[in-house]
């Protein structure tokens, strides 16, 4: 039972480059989320999706884009990477809006130099 799988686990980007962080879940959850975590700052919501074809902005969406073509996959795209995007990124999912716990992936540590 894989749960939420994120790739890559680690990556180094140069300023101005672009990349996509992959997230897939095998629990048939409708709701999926992308968070970033900076030291001591808690998890900040970047984007979320309530189902295939539907996405919306979270608290800190600038510099990112998402798509949700299937229930399983929710990739996060970084365009024109900046040092401020150095962070650990977590993807999470849950069955519905008020159904309690989030299931998190193991994270993707991204460094922009």
């Amino acid at each position: 039972n894989a749960g939420v799988t994120q790739t890559p686990k680690f990556h180094i980007l140069k300023i101005g480059q672009s990349m996509t962080l992959q997230c897939t879940q095998d629990m048939n959850h409708n709701y999926m989320y992308w968070y970033r975590q900076d030291p001591g700052m808690g998890l900040k919501l970047i984007y979320y999706s309530v189902g295939a074809g539907i996405t919306d902005k979270g608290e800190v969406p600038n510099g990112y884009n998402v798509s949700r073509s299937t229930t399983e996959d929710f990739p996060l795209r970084l365009e024109l990477a900046a040092p401020s995007q150095t962070s650990v990124y977590f993807c999470a999912s849950r069955p519905g809006r008020n159904t309690g716990e989030l299931f998190f992936g193991e994270g993707s540590r991204l460094t922009v130099l």
Binding site: G40, L43, G100, F104, G105, E106
Partner: protein
């Protein structure tokens, strides 16, 4: 603005004692509150959920209280063990809205 505060300083306790972690919030009326555990280099793992109309929830050695008057939740681990050492995150949400996370408190249980 909404604010969730957890003690940013690490909590150090002796094995066998009860650990108590605090989550305070302001300008917020959450419908429910959750606690997560996060180990270094790993994603958060859900522990407990407590709703606004509940005062206390228990699960094995864990206990959570929720005081909407004080705007505070307390998270207790009884008979703590070194394996309980981790960072603990609280998260709040209004009904149907996104979860907002606190910064987490690191717990160190010494043998």
């Amino acid at each position: 603005s909404q604010k969730i505060e957890q003690n940013s300083e690490a909590l150090n306790i002796q094995e066998g004692k009860t650990a108590t972690l605090t989550c305070n919030y302001t300008n917020y009326s959450p419908a429910y509150l959750q606690w997560y555990r996060q180990d270094p280099g790993r994603g958060p793992v859900f522990l407990l959920l407590i709703r606004e109309n509940e005062k206390e929830k228990r699960k094995e050695r864990l206990k959570v209280t929720f005081d909407t008057t004080l705007k505070q939740s307390l998270f207790h681990i009884t008979a703590s063990q070194p394996a309980d050492s981790a960072t603990y995150l609280c998260a709040l949400a209004r009904a149907g809205n996104m979860l907002t996370f606190g910064g987490g408190t690191r717990l160190m249980v010494k043998p």
